[in-house]
Symmetry: C2
Subunit: 298 residues, 2 copies
């Protein structure tokens, strides 16, 4: 196998492990509340590249953290990511009917169930992280809960989504788009990268390296997302293409143009990998992920 | 002052302290994300009896926990409570325009902002509880986060709201309504009661007493809510009266009748207070709260 195929196989194996972990953590109901649990499972299972959990696990591997622990944290982050997609897809938000090639949660169920499924996934993520199986040291679990909350809240992901909604009525420049994306998608990617370090009790210096990697990786990831929205095809993407342009939203691509945006993404991915130098061979998976992120087709 | 007036003054003082604590914990924004922060403040501040925080503080007082700590946990629970009201009031859910005598969040702002404000409040509650200022012992903070998540999630409050939505199409009996309310409102009231014990490192026996009190108090509280919905007046309630009947929902009152429901609430409140016997005089505030809950007018 070439290095790329080997990496893709590793990514697929890790996605499978997270899928199993999620399936075990998501509740089953026996009463009328079953409906919200079905919706949680519907949106969480059977899809997604699981890039965020991969970041947690590849990061944690560098500190010899057991996979049982890093998979749980990866699954919790995937719950937060899934909740954000469910709520962002609602009619009152981006009003989208397609996600991972399937009807979105509110289309498959209904709006009320989708709101509640998102709420319950966010809540469960904290239950998982704070639970004793995540790490024997409660300081580690509190740190994870605290950093996850900061990444997901009004000064992170939710704040970014708020700015994105306001953006439709404003002409944003590159600095503003960068700030928006740093909050909307960057904050949770950053938490995914540092979570491995928290689990592995990394030094401050090691945590700074992980954050620097996350910063550049997150922007590269977003620029590629914008490129795929312009160049991609709904069938391959599994979500509606051409949304940003239709909404008249400024993106990295509309501001920089396709060629400069692509160059920028490649430059950032290279820079992200370069930060990891001090980890040497141990960082191979994270380096390859940076490359994968700019070459992905969906 | 009579005992009642003294108790009401204590309740008002504690509500004021929680208000100050909330005001300090809620974020201010300086960018376009400001809108969601305004919505968080609008719905969280300036209203409510703050019964849940009072339960935390009165419980924690019995174990000589400092007020700075119990106020933070009380404020976090109030954030969870407020988020649940914001989401329950949404058009896709109960579609209500009035709350605490003011326009609901989605009426004052818009649906997208209301969804995000609820999401951010839930997230912030975990940030507060997991933060080092809540308690120096990280085991205590993890326990609080874990129990709060269980109370608020699909097997607690969110599951109860799901059942409540399904209830509109079903004829529920008293056992089913009891289960619904144990999840929808009881779970968070239970967490409020045991949070003081967690902060104060109560014994298992003391925790059981607090849970028994919470169980009966929660049901009494809900029955009175149902009575007020039938007998109350929108102006005094600060929220729309007569909603359950209009929605054709079975409630304790529709199933038991007004008189038996009122008797049942009184009986449960007395039983709640009786559980606290072993705490003697220390439990005076919790006992008086049980009485207050059945006599309240809104």
């Amino acid at each position: 196998m070439s290095a790329t195929t080997e990496f893709e196989a590793a990514l697929a194996r890790s996605a499978e492990a997270v899928e199993d972990c999620l399936a075990g953590l998501l509740p089953d109901g026996d009463g009328h509340e079953e409906r919200v649990m079905e919706a949680m499972r519907y949106s969480s299972l059977g899809g997604g590249k699981r890039i965020r959990p991969f970041l947690v696990m590849a990061g944690a591997d560098m500190f010899n953290v057991s996979r049982e622990r890093s998979e749980r944290v990866g699954a919790a982050i995937e719950m937060v990511h899934t909740y954000s997609l469910i709520h962002d897809d609602l009619p009152a938000m981006d009003d989208d009917g397609l996600r991972r090639g399937q009807p979105t949660c509110h289309v498959k169920f209904d709006e009320a169930t989708a709101i509640l499924a998102g709420d319950a996934l966010l809540t469960l993520a904290f239950e998982v992280v704070a639970g004793p199986d995540t790490h024997p040291n409660p300081d580690v679990r509190c740190d994870l809960a605290l950093e996850m909350a900061k990444a997901a809240g009004a000064q992170g992901m939710v704040g970014g989504q708020m700015i994105d909604l306001v953006a439709e009525d404003h002409d944003f420049d590159v600095a503003e788009i960068t700030r928006l994306q740093r909050m909307k998608t960057g904050a949770l990617i950053n938490f995914s990268c540092i979570a491995g370090g928290i689990l592995g009790r990394a030094t401050d210096h090691q945590m700074h390296i992980l954050s620097a990697y996350a910063h550049d990786l997150g922007l590269a990831f977003q620029i590629v997302d914008d490129l795929l929205d312009v160049e991609g095809d709904t069938a391959v993407l599994g979500k509606t293409a051409g949304k940003d342009e239709a909404a008249g939203k400024a993106t990295f691509v509309s501001l920089l143009g396709i060629e400069r945006a692509r160059e920028q993404a490649r430059m950032l991915a290279g820079q992200a990998a370069a930060h990891l130098g001090p980890f040497d061979d141990k960082a191979a998976n994270l380096c390859q992920l940076a490359e994968f992120v700019v070459n992905r087709r969906n």
